[in-house]
């Protein structure tokens, strides 16, 4: 029931807004649908907590701690982003960067995007998951090009082609998975692509084929996660799209893609009993962290800067999943959570900052703290949080990840730490002059919606100081289910 609501509400939203998306109250409607989705998600969470894992819709849907917390997160950030985009898009409309028609497109696509992500999370069918992931690309690609500027078109094209190609590889991987599975499960029925069944028989699956399948899946979904060297689309798409989209892309889509990768890793590792998948994940993770932290130095565009930081953090999480084990997985899940919360809030503030100063070039953004203290402090605290400064939650996860790395992969620890230090210097040296110093900007017709920002940061702060026991158990369950050495 909850699930039905969870999936139908966004679809309905997409349909409704597709009709009246240009209406004056469209943003509120958008927010309302998101709110409904969130409520459904909460109901689902409650149910999972109460009755444990769920198999629904003749096994096509499967809810366990791992994806239910991502569902909750997605729905929550979906709502806050909708709230944020309410004044933001109005301002864009008044600045004449958008037509009402495109606003309609934006609203309906936003809901569609939510739907695809929730579908990808909740489905039990690897094939459907692939469909949903591709759907996510398709629904956002037009949002990236919403402004029709040369930059946005280029970004959209790269996004489309690279992710499209990647996703095609993922499809091939899925097929191989199916091939391997049907040997064991038989072709009759459609159980051969159902994750639960695959998970049950993973020990008997043919290792070599599964390895190949994993490679294809990793390349495919990894492209969406933004793992170096498959990341090239990410900074462009984040920088050129409208800020709310950057927020959900970075805060949610990457998580969902990583979720897909991890799901497949669980299967492969189960059949393989070899280090290979872990090594691959760790390699990708490390490479992403290092390259991203270096590229941070040269950024001039604020959204691009934080796009690269997203690559870095996804790298950290991937590395952690690669290490595996209860603590690392726990930390990685925590990291996904805090990163998506923090990063989306940063994009909110960055968006307001860009609107106030009329540019995304950082050297022209100055003195936010005097221009609008809330935005300034939001950006400052958000950046510090994302840089892993206590008492914010990012530090918690990084602490766990690093200490685990010291234990299991001592060779990687110095590299990670060096990269983190470099990233700190790079980002902070750019954020500080934006927040402090003499101001250069104008007031906005609509007051910025900063409730989301501080809501997110408050949660992140809380997670840094105190992780509520039920949340901890929940993470632990998920971590246990991901397994690893």
């Amino acid at each position: 029931m909850e699930l039905l609501l969870l999936l139908t509400l966004p679809i309905a939203g997409a349909a409704v807004l597709g009709l009246i998306g240009a209406d004056r109250r469209a943003p509120e409607i958008n927010a309302l649908f998101s709110l409904g989705t969130l409520l459904a998600a909460c109901a689902l969470v409650v149910r999972v907590i109460r009755h444990g894992d769920l198999l629904l819709g003749e096994e096509q849907f499967f809810i366990d701690p791992f994806n239910v917390f991502l569902v909750a997160l997605t729905a929550f950030v979906g709502l806050t982003t909708a709230l944020f985009s309410r004044p933001y898009m109005r301002v864009e409309l008044e600045h004449g960067r958008l037509s009402s028609g495109r606003l309609r497109l934006y609203h309906s696509m936003y809901q569609l995007f939510m739907f695809t992500m929730l579908l990808a999370l909740t489905t039990n069918n690897m094939g459907l998951m692939w469909v949903a992931m591709e759907g996510a690309t398709l629904s956002t690609v037009l949002l990236v090009t919403l402004y029709r500027t040369p930059g946005s078109l280029e970004a959209g094209w790269k996004y489309f082609i690279l992710c499209g190609v990647g996703i095609a590889q993922a499809l091939f991987g899925t097929i191989l998975l199916y091939v391997a599975a049907e040997k064991v499960l038989g072709a009759q029925g459609m159980t051969a692509l159902l994750w639960t069944h695959l998970d049950a028989v993973k020990a008997q699956l043919e290792p070599t084929v599964l390895t190949l399948a994993f490679v294809f899946l990793l390349i495919g979904y990894g492209t969406k996660v933004g793992l170096v060297p498959l990341h090239s689309w990410l900074p462009d798409a984040h920088a050129e799209g409208p800020t709310p989209i950057s927020a959900v892309l970075s805060g949610l889509l990457l998580n969902v893609a990583l979720y897909a990768v991890v799901r497949s890793k669980v299967l492969v590792e189960g059949s393989l009993h070899s280090e290979l998948p872990s090594m691959m994940l760790m390699g990708f993770g490390l490479l992403s962290v290092v390259l991203a932290s270096l590229l941070l130095w040269r950024q001039r565009d604020i959204k691009r800067l934080f796009a690269y930081s997203s690559i870095e953090h996804m790298g950290i999480a991937t590395f952690a999943f690669g290490m595996g084990g209860p603590i690392a997985n726990f930390a990685a899940l925590l990291h996904m959570t805090v990163h998506s919360l923090t990063k989306s809030s940063i994009f909110f503030t960055a968006g307001h900052a860009a609107q106030k100063t009329g540019t995304q070039l950082m050297e022209h953004i100055r003195g936010l703290i005097t221009l609008s203290p809330t935005v300034g402090w939001g950006l400052m605290l958000g950046s510090l949080a994302i840089l892993g400064v206590p008492p914010f939650g990012v530090f918690t996860s990084e602490f766990l990840i690093l200490t685990t790395a010291m234990r299991t992969q001592p060779w990687a620890t110095p590299i990670l730490l060096a990269a983190l230090a470099v990233a700190f210097a790079a980002i902070f040296s750019k954020v500080q002059p934006m927040v402090f110093g003499e101001t250069s900007g104008r007031r906005l017709p609509h007051p910025p919606a900063l409730l989301p920002v501080f809501a997110h940061l408050a949660i992140v702060l809380l997670l840094g100081l105190y992780i509520p026991p039920y949340l901890a158990d929940w993470y632990r369950a998920a971590a246990h289910l991901i397994g690893g050495p």
Binding site: W130, L153, E154, G164, L171, L212
Partner: protein, 222 residues
Amino acid sequence: MTHLSLYQQLLDACAALLLLLSFAMLSQRRVVTLVNLYAVQGAVLAAATLLLAWRTGEGHLYLSAALTLALKVAFLPWLLHRLIRRLEVYWDTEPLLNVSGTMLAGLVIVVFAFALAQPITRLTSTATRSAIGIAVSVVLLAFLMMITRRKAMSQVVGFLSMENGVFFGAMSASYGMPMVVELGVALDVLVAVLVLGVFFFQIRERFESLDLHHLESLKEHE
């Protein structure tokens, strides 16, 4: 089996034809011909599917054959041709890697693909398993083509033929995927092309051409 049944021969022929078509696309520079080749590829794919369906009597294979025919032979080529006419992009410029070089790379890739296909072939019991290698090489060749082309249009064709390869792989490895998935895939491909159509016009109205060198401004390295 020492001597192959007619059906087997036909199927292998189809596979070979597909590979040939991929190479043809790799070398072809005229966009219109590229689209035609894509259509033919789709047709061969449909034929193969039909054969399989007739042999194995799997109901859903007929359906997917029909789907292929409708989508990849009829609709998409028609759409692409319309786009070409509307946007007047008939020729692709000189590819980044010259034809012979591309061919050479293609050959290497085919060898690699067959090596890759070995374990899968060993695993599967389908009559068509020998074709898996071809499917893989079709995918990789399409990839190569996308890398070497300069026009958005030809990249899209490459993308589509890659999808063909994947589809053929599914076909030959396991008589196709569950219906839900196939429908989903088909839907996605359809939407993708539609989105692309929109895209082309946007790019066009912005740059007066579909040449990709317009789309190289976002970068770190200057």
